[in-house]
C-alpha cells in the first residue's frame, strides 16, 4: 500500500513549481541578448573593444575556476554566470581601457564581489558593478578617459553627454543618445542595442518587467519634477533615460536575480529607489553618472525590502 502511494504521489518539500529554465540556460540566454550591445560597442569604438571584452571574460572565468578549485567546490564555470559578469563588466568600461586594469576589475568582481560571499546566489552586490566600482576607485583617471566614437559627426569631443551637461550645460540631442554615437562606455552608449536585448529578455520571461519599468517611471517622476522646477538647470527626463548607463543598468544590472528583491512589491520599491538615487547623484553629486552607485546602494537594501514586502497568503487575516 505504502509503496503504491509513494509511486503515485511524489513527496517533496516546496517549491513545487519549477522553472523550465536552468541557471545555465538563463545565463547563456542573457549573454546572447547582449550581442547587440557588443556589436554597437565595436561599431562605435573599434574592434579593439573585443579584446577588452575577451580579457574581462577570460579573467572572470579563470578566477571563478581557481577559487572553486581552492575551496574544493564544484567548478561551475560552464553555467555562464562568470561569463556574464565578465561581459557586463567589460561593457561598463570606457573604450580602449587598459587591459591589465580590466583583468584586475574582473578578478575583483568574481573574487570579492561574488566568491567571498559564498558564490552564485549568496552575493549581496552585483559582482560586475562591484568590479566596476573598484576600478572607479582604483583608477579614477583612466576610467573617465573617454574616446570619441569613430562615426561621430563631431569626433573631437570626447566628453560623455552626462559630463558635458554637468560641467558645461551642453544638452546632447536625443537621436545620438538613442543610437549611441556618443562618448561613453563600450556597451552603454547605444540605448537602442540594449533595448533590443532587454525587451527580448522580458518577452521570453527571463527578466521581470517590474524593475526596469519602475526605474523608468521613477526616472521620469523624479527627473521630471526637477526639470519642471528649473528648465535650464536640470535636464529633461528623456535625457536621463537615454544618457549614461541607465539602460544597461535597468535591464541587466538591477535585474540580477541574486541581488534584487523577489517580491513584486519589493521590485517596485527597488526600482523606484534606484531612480531616486540616480537623479540625486546626477543632478547634485560630485560625479556625472550615478547608475552604478545607485544600484549598489539599493542592492544593500534588498534583504530589508524582501523582509517587509512578503505577500500576504490568501485568506490570512492581519
Amino acid at each position: 500500500m505504502e509503496e503504491k502511494i509513494k509511486k503515485e504521489f511524489e513527496f517533496t518539500s516546496s517549491p513545487h513549481f519549477h522553472s523550465k529554465y536552468s541557471t545555465g540556460t538563463v545565463m547563456w540566454i542573457v549573454n546572447l541578448s547582449l550581442i547587440p550591445a557588443v556589436i554597437s560597442g565595436v561599431i562605435f569604438f573599434g574592434l579593439y573593444q573585443l579584446v577588452i571584452i575577451f580579457t574581462s571574460i577570460f579573467f572572470a572565468i579563470l578566477t571563478e575556476a581557481i577559487i572553486q578549485k581552492i575551496l574544493k567546490q564544484k567548478i561551475t564555470i560552464t553555467d555562464g554566470s562568470a561569463f556574464l559578469t565578465g561581459l557586463l563588466l567589460a561593457l561598463t568600461l570606457p573604450p580602449n581601457f587598459s587591459l591589465s586594469a580590466t583583468a584586475i576589475g574582473a578578478v575583483f568582481a568574481i573574487a570579492i564581489g561574488k566568491q567571498i560571499f559564498g558564490g552564485l546566489g549568496f552575493n549581496i552586490f552585483n559582482p560586475a558593478l562591484a568590479g566596476r566600482a573598484f576600478l572607479q576607485a582604483a583608477f579614477p583617471v583612466e576610467i573617465t578617459t573617454w574616446t570619441a566614437p569613430n562615426y561621430s559627426v563631431q569626433s573631437v569631443s570626447s566628453a560623455t553627454p552626462l559630463a558635458a551637461f554637468k560641467y558645461d550645460k551642453v544638452l546632447t540631442e536625443l537621436k545620438p543618445l538613442v543610437v549611441g554615437n556618443i562618448g561613453g562606455c563600450i556597451g552603454e552608449t547605444s540605448a537602442l542595442a540594449i533595448l533590443v536585448g532587454g525587451i527580448f529578455l522580458i518577452a521570453i520571461g527571463i527578466v521581470n518587467y517590474r524593475i526596469p519599468l519602475a526605474m523608468i517611471i521613477g526616472l521620469f517622476l523624479f527627473g521630471g519634477v526637477f526639470h519642471l522646477i528649473d528648465v535650464t538647470k536640470f535636464p529633461p527626463p528623456s535625457f536621463h533615460l537615454f544618457a549614461g548607463g541607465f539602460m544597461l543598468g535597468a535591464f541587466y544590472m538591477a535585474t540580477d536575480y541574486v541581488t534584487s528583491p523577489y517580491t513584486p512589491k519589493g521590485m517596485w520599491i527597488f526600482g523606484l529607489g534606484i531612480s531616486l538615487f540616480i537623479v540625486i547623484i546626477r543632478l547634485f553629486g560630485g560625479v556625472p553618472e550615478g547608475v552604478m552607485y545607485s544600484i549598489l546602494l539599493m542592492n544593500s537594501f534588498v534583504p530589508l525590502i524582501n523582509r517587509y514586502t512578503i505577500p500576504k497568503p490568501f485568506g490570512m487575516k492581519e
Binding site: 587598459s98 586594469a101 584586475i104 570579492i112 567571498i116 576607485a137 582604483a138 583608477f139 579614477p140
Partner: protein, 211 residues
C-alpha cells in the same frame, strides 16, 4: 588553578595566538585610519606599544591599592599620561609624522587594546608578566599595522617606506590609500588569518589522531 604559563609564552601569545588585530579584532579605528603608508603604521604601532607597556606596568604595580569602583578612571588617567608624553614628543621630534597621524595619537587613550589589556591582564598579574604581555600585544599590533600599511602603500603608491618597489609600468591603485582600500585589505587579511587558523587546527587534530 590554571596551568602556569611560561614567561616566553606570555610574550609570544600576543604575536599571533591573541593578536589584537587578527584574533581579538580590537583597535580597528587607528588600524583602518592611519595605515595609508608603512611609516604611519610603524609610528602608530610604536606609539601604541609604548603607551601599552608603560601603562600596563604601572597599573600592574598599583593593582592592589586601587579600589575596584574607580579602577577604570584610574587606568584612563595613567594611560592618558603616557599618551600625552607620546603626543608631545612626536610633535617636537617628528612634526611631519605627528601631522600625518593627526588626532589618532591623542586617541590612543581610548584604544580598546590598552584598556583591554589593563582590565583583562595587568590588573590581575604581576609586573613582569604584565610587561611581557603588553610588549607581546604591542608587537602583535605593530606587526599587523606594518603589514597593512606596507600592502596599502605598495599598491597605492608603488613604494614601501618611500622606497619604490613596484615598476613604473604599474598603475597605482588609488583605492588602496582611500578608506575603502583599508577595509578591503583588512578584510582579506582577517580572512586569510582565519583560514590559516582553521587549517592549523585541522592539522593538529589529524596529528593527534595519528598518534
Amino acid at each position: 588553578m590554571k596551568k602556569p604559563v611560561s614567561l616566553t609564552q606570555e610574550y609570544i601569545k600576543g604575536l599571533w595566538e591573541i593578536n589584537p588585530i587578527f584574533k581579538q579584532i580590537l583597535g580597528m579605528c587607528p588600524t583602518l585610519a592611519v595605515t595609508v603608508s608603512a611609516i604611519n603604521g610603524l609610528a602608530m604601532g610604536l606609539a601604541t606599544t609604548f603607551v601599552l607597556v608603560f601603562s600596563s606596568v604601572i597599573i600592574s604595580s598599583i593593582r592592589k591599592i586601587v579600589p575596584s569602583q574607580v579602577r577604570i578612571a584610574t587606568y584612563i588617567l595613567i594611560i592618558s599620561t603616557f599618551v600625552t608624553i607620546v603626543d608631545l614628543v612626536m610633535k617636537a621630534k617628528f612634526p611631519e609624522l605627528s601631522k600625518a597621524l593627526g588626532p589618532f595619537i591623542p586617541l590612543i587613550v581610548v584604544n580598546c587594546i590598552i584598556l583591554g589589556r589593563a582590565e583583562a591582564f595587568a590588573s590581575r598579574n604581576n609586573v613582569l608578566r604584565s610587561f611581557l604581555d603588553a610588549l607581546g600585544n604591542g608587537s602583535g599590533f605593530l606587526i599587523a599595522l606594518l603589514v597593512l600599511g606596507s600592502i596599502r602603500e605598495m599598491l597605492g603608491t608603488r613604494t614601501i617606506f618611500g622606497v619604490q618597489v613596484l615598476p613604473n609600468q604599474f598603475t597605482p591603485w588609488m583605492v588602496m590609500i582611500l578608506p575603502a582600500g583599508a577595509f578591503i585589505t583588512l578584510g582579506l587579511l582577517l580572512g586569510f588569518a582565519n583560514a590559516f587558523t582553521k587549517w592549523q587546527e585541522q592539522k593538529n587534530k589529524k596529528s593527534v589522531l595519528v598518534r
